[in-house]
Subunit: 118 residues, 2 copies
């Protein structure tokens, strides 16, 4: 039960696309990630996912459109909805999602990572 | 499924100590509140609560100490732990907590509010 400073935690993340756990409550994780470039198309069967942009700009691609999320904005991606995050420049993102959430969802593959605590 | 801008939502909140629902996922609420002054001592039997400070400075009083949460920082208050938020100047806070969370916890009383969606 201590105060978590987001900037300090982001400084500890050197690799992009590797969400780190910085908090846990009610079976949910607070994760931080640095993203740049394009991820993989995927969905989560049982998890809704919140993306809060802390710094930079994140494009969330859906099959029918793209939403741009800027610093101070968030978007909730409901379970079952295919999405693919993309960022031209590095973006710092705070995620709020069930502890069971796998970053690549049901797609799996080489970009799947097991989130570490920092 | 649309992008939520925190500043825009905060502009719609004119009353302090009235958390507003701005998102829902996995049975959890994202709520925004403006706080100033001192709240009531309370705890939640079954809900962990996350306080992310967006603007200003929040003091979270516990029975044995006080933690100061500044903009860009968060604190998780576990279920069962008595706490009492306090802020000298108005602070803008984002809350993550189960949809069942009552602002005054088990203490109840006149400062209990039923959160509205904005």
């Amino acid at each position: 039960m201590s105060v978590i400073n987001l900037a300090e935690k982001f400084r500890q993340i050197d690799k992009q696309w590797t969400p780190k756990i910085v908090g846990e409550l009610n079976g949910q994780h607070v994760r931080l990630a640095k993203l740049q470039g394009e991820f993989v198309w995927h969905h989560h069967d049982d998890e809704d996912e919140l993306f809060l942009v802390i710094d930079g700009e994140l494009e969330m691609q859906f099959r029918d459109r793209t939403e741009t999320i800027r610093a101070g904005e968030f978007l909730i991606v409901p379970r079952g909805v295919e999405h693919c995050p993309r960022a031209v420049a590095e973006v710092q993102v705070m995620l709020f999602e069930p502890a069971s959430t796998v970053n690549t969802g049901t797609a799996g593959g080489e970009r799947t990572v097991d989130p570490e605590r920092i």
